[in-house]
Symmetry: C2
């Protein structure tokens, strides 16, 4: 039986891979540090009797079979990080999954019970999407949402493809991975509701709805020094006006109703003495209310038109994706609630604003998503921190969830 | 005697080096294309009896000596370009200098006169500053404004130093270059005053005053999806507000009184799902009036304070440089005006908003700066265009200027 101390020691060891001075980690997808973290996990799993497999998009599975040929309970998260990211985001969920699967294995060995489903610990490839877009790539391919060939052809800023990067780190597999019956994931909250309310477990009921836009602001390249102001078609200025407008959109709704962000800006040619000819921008609107999101989308389009006029640029929508708020299977939430009660853990229902691999998984199999508190809700930051006791509590609950899923206590739809 | 047709044919040949599909050139400093353009110039000069020399910062000189040991009239501009820049900016001035020097050489050979000063055609290294900052690097080192070791240590985005890049292209010299007595440069206007007014020649009297700032907006890295709006310290939003404020600053003065620009923005970590922790930005304020510039600087500082408050970021000035409007020697302007009259060319006095190598040279020796029209004033753009007749007229006038400077008709201060 793995102990709390084992969990904490393993987490410290894992956090040293790609550790940054400020206490975070730098392990972007398919980099050397991602490889080192994956190799660490492979060693850990093999030492405990798991068989490791890698699928065609680099998802890494540690499998334990009681019923050869039966489908699997997939439990995991991701080892990749943002640039200078936190050490809990993703990695905690993978390690918790590994310990939970190991404990379940031991419980069945002790009791002699033979569960209905097999178990696999998963490190989903490229959840973060910082090096290769989009995010949640591995789980998107696994669940059939993104074509494999399209994902493999995605390039980073240096022009390296996902296929080449995975080959380089030795994690491009030649199979489809184990078949799923159920899925589970545990993650830090990336918000501060649990921390503020002093609650140990978040039972995730649904995602927020989201509207994502990739846009290009097209101006005209000219000399900053000599081009008179009236003649400029400044793509960077257009992008700046959009960033400000997107922020102010959030203030036009009740506090907390709408989250907006502009997370990436690429300027061409981005020279100090040149008025930019093009600026590419990612925008992101999220809300728990569809109505709010639709209204915000309309407002944003009116802002685009106004900025095109005022700044003499064209705003081209290169892509726009809309995700409605979508529910995790209520039976899974009930199961996690029941187990939290049995373990004496305080809990509350939650929505997730952030995307997770489980967001993809729940669309194909019944999926349980759990949150543990994150101090002050700091996320995608080296100062991300979750208390040791919350780490251990999460593993305890996840163990119970995985055991019940393996037993087949949750009906398949 | 080189003819107009020679000038035009040579310009077409030179423009093919690094030519882009849209009619511009891509010849950033010390790249392969910059090397090819320089080798083309070296061949051209040597074929006409010039001796080529390269100094320690990669300035390329084509020298013709009548008086061994006497100082030189330096006439030239730059062959490097912006990314996807125009084919006239800089290259025209170098080619015009080459033809002018050649013609002066022929005139003296024919007349038997022996001028007081020698002549050198110059390609100043890295005028554009897009790959290696700052701009006008070669002339800054030549005139003692920038220490050589500091310039050689500057790196591009890939971490390559100026020293290594110059070595790589074979243009790192081991000498100080010829000593200057006078300088001259001809350039396209990069504005549309001459084009609009139908005037053939601009006689540059002075530069505009400029205030340049390199600033860093410091926020706090967090998750775009889950961080509530009130908690964000978004460096990209801060930068966007600065870009908008800087543009609106220009509108608070009479039209044309103040030029403002934000020409380069680098965002960290620049991931679609991360609130940026830092954004670095180059700002540039220019005016012909010192009062306007000082007032604008004060306004900008008040804007910085307001944005720090509204956006919860810190704005750090990493550097701020101020250049007063500074005059070219009036005797040089008079000389060019007199010659324009003799050649029957329409002309007007002008100020230059853009920096030029002559801006550095005039601070150490009497310097003549000439403009020819640029259609619609399009600059730092592949569509930059100057009419053939204006190209040829410019060479004629520059020839006269170089001849008179070589004769010593302009008093040294």
């Amino acid at each position: 039986m793995t102990t709390d101390n084992d969990v904490l020691a393993d987490f410290r060891a894992l956090s040293e891979i790609g550790a940054t001075e400020a206490g975070g980690v730098e392990r972007q997808a398919a980099t050397v540090n991602d490889r080192l973290a994956r190799e660490w996990l492979v060693d850990w799993l093999r030492a405990r009797g798991f068989t490791t497999r890698v699928d065609r998009i680099g998802n890494l599975f540690g499998c334990y079979e009681w019923h050869p040929g039966a489908p699997y309970v997939l439990v995991g998260s991701h080892l990749d990080s943002q640039p200078r990211g936190g050490r809990y985001d993703g990695a905690y969920g993978v390690l918790a999954a590994a310990h939970a699967a190991c404990r379940v294995h031991e419980r069945f060995a002790e009791s002699g019970d033979r569960p209905a489903f097999n178990v696999a610990v998963v490190d989903w490839f490229n959840e973060e999407g910082s090096r290769f877009k989009p995010s949640m790539m591995g789980s998107a391919v696994y669940t059939g949402k993104m074509p494999l060939h399209q994902a493999l052809a995605v390039t980073d800023h240096a022009g390296v493809t996902v296929e080449d990067a995975l080959t380089e780190i030795g994690f491009l597999g030649a199979e489809d991975g184990p078949r799923a019956a159920f899925a589970a994931e545990i993650h830090i909250e990336q918000g501060r509701i649990l921390d503020k309310e002093g609650i140990q477990i978040g039972l995730v009921e649904s995602t927020w709805a989201a509207h994502k836009y990739q846009i290009s602001v097209v101006g005209e390249q000219s000399h900053t020094g000599s081009t008179v102001m009236a003649d400029r078609q400044d793509a960077l200025l257009g992008a700046a006006r959009i960033i400000v407008a997107v922020r102010e959109l959030a203030d036009r709704f009740p506090e907390g109703a709408l989250h907006t962000s502009a997370g990436q800006l690429i300027v061409h040619p981005n020279s100090p003495v040149v008025v930019a000819r093009e600026a590419e921008l990612h925008l992101d609107l999220r809300s728990s209310s569809l109505d709010v999101l639709h209204e915000a989308d309309e407002m944003l389009n009116r802002e685009f038109a106004a900025i095109e006029m005022s700044t003499d640029v064209r705003i081209v929508k290169k892509s726009a994706h809309f995700w409605p708020a979508s529910e995790y299977q209520p039976e899974g939430v009930d199961l996690a609630r029941e187990l939290s009660g049995e373990l004496g853990l305080s809990h509350r229902p939650m929505q997730t604003l952030a995307g997770h691999d489980s967001t993809n998984l729940k669309d194909v199999v019944p999926t349980v998503m759990l949150f543990v508190p994150s101090v002050e809700g700091i996320s995608h930051n080296e100062r991300e921190y979750t208390k040791d006791e919350d780490i251990c509590t999460g593993v305890d609950l996840l163990t119970g969830v995985v055991e019940r899923l393996c037993r087949g206590d949750l009906r398949q739809p």
